[in-house]
Symmetry: C2
Subunit: 200 residues, 2 copies
């Protein structure tokens, strides 16, 4: 017997496609949406329907944007000689929230992962090299994640860029702000000791 109405099951299936949402959570979400007035479902539906049409990749830095070039690339107050290389647009948003960075960005849209068949051609590496060749960039700040594929991607980029005149820098690794030393993992602590700074 069909206990779950097909229209509800269809929504549950579509929701369970989202990352971190299993069958039980999808059912809970779908039932919650159904219990509420239709307005909420229709707003979410409409936001989803217009999403891919409204957003494109900036042809310069490859972040998600409604305009091309994006607001950051088009802003004359930002420093175009400094480019921060990140894995995904979400990383750009996290760095923008700090309010401390005033350069441009370059979104790779992935990391090198040979086991998944992702090589340099699958991410925006040649586009980065073309930006470097154009001559306005003085510093590349590599801000890939501190994970195995993130570090491998950083090493690969450093190798590629070191033949050029551009200065390559990386985010500092060390103890997170507010963390008790005794709870820091030993790899982070080792990195913090190696990268210790002289007190000025």
């Amino acid at each position: 017997m069909q206990i779950i109405p097909p229209a509800l099951e269809r929504l549950m299936l579509a929701l369970s496609e989202l990352p971190g949402i299993g069958k039980k959570t999808a059912m809970r979400l779908a039932l919650n949406i159904l219990r509420r007035p239709p307005g909420m479902a229709l707003e979410l539906s409409s936001a989803l329907a217009q999403l891919h049409g409204a957003i494109q990749l900036c042809s310069c830095c490859f972040t998600f944007s409604e305009n091309d070039p994006c607001a950051i690339c088009a802003d004359p107050r930002r420093d175009g000689s400094l480019v921060c290389v990140v894995e995904q647009p979400g990383d750009l948003m996290a760095i923008e929230k700090t309010g401390i960075y005033h350069g441009h960005y370059h979104i790779l849209h992935g990391v090198l992962s040979p086991i998944d068949g992702i090589g340099p051609k699958e991410i925006k590496v040649s586009e980065l090299m073309a930006r470097i060749k154009s001559g306005t960039i003085k510093e590349i700040l590599i801000a890939t994640s501190s994970t195995v594929p993130g570090e491998a991607t950083a090493s690969y980029l450093i190798d590629r860029i070191q033949g050029t005149k551009v200065q390559v820098t990386r985010l500092a690794c060390g103890i997170p702000m507010g963390m008790d030393i005794k709870y820091a993992d030993r790899h982070t602590l080792a990195r913090a000791i190696e990268s210790r700074n002289p007190v000025r």
Copy 2:
């Protein structure tokens, strides 16, 4: 500066309306949807758009259904003299999954919660009393949650029904299957001791 494109922000806002989805999760989901081909977003959008139009409440048991009466109320093989009272349609689905129950249902669509202004008139209590008055029901199995409002609702229903000729039963409370006694909480254990069964 508008770092997050408005179309993406709109989706994030709509997603963060869902229960258990905060701003960070909404951003992660929205970026994931954007990174994937549009088909997934459009399917979810369409599933949401048709949801409220396709599904109504069964006029007999008040579960979500595309037909009225629902498949359970319309099934002549099910026992209409036994009615299980649950809080929400999700509870019905959980009970149906056991495969052990062959009676009808009655969905209250809530529990009594005076602090939230939810009294008997806000949930489907009068509809249940009307079904009882119609005379075909012999047993009401109360399956509200084992929470404070669930228990209060059960007590209220028992009071209301006890004036009629209908037998009222409740789900057994005790040790969950597979649970180690030493990890059971003391209220559950106390209930299991009080409700101990003679070995046949």
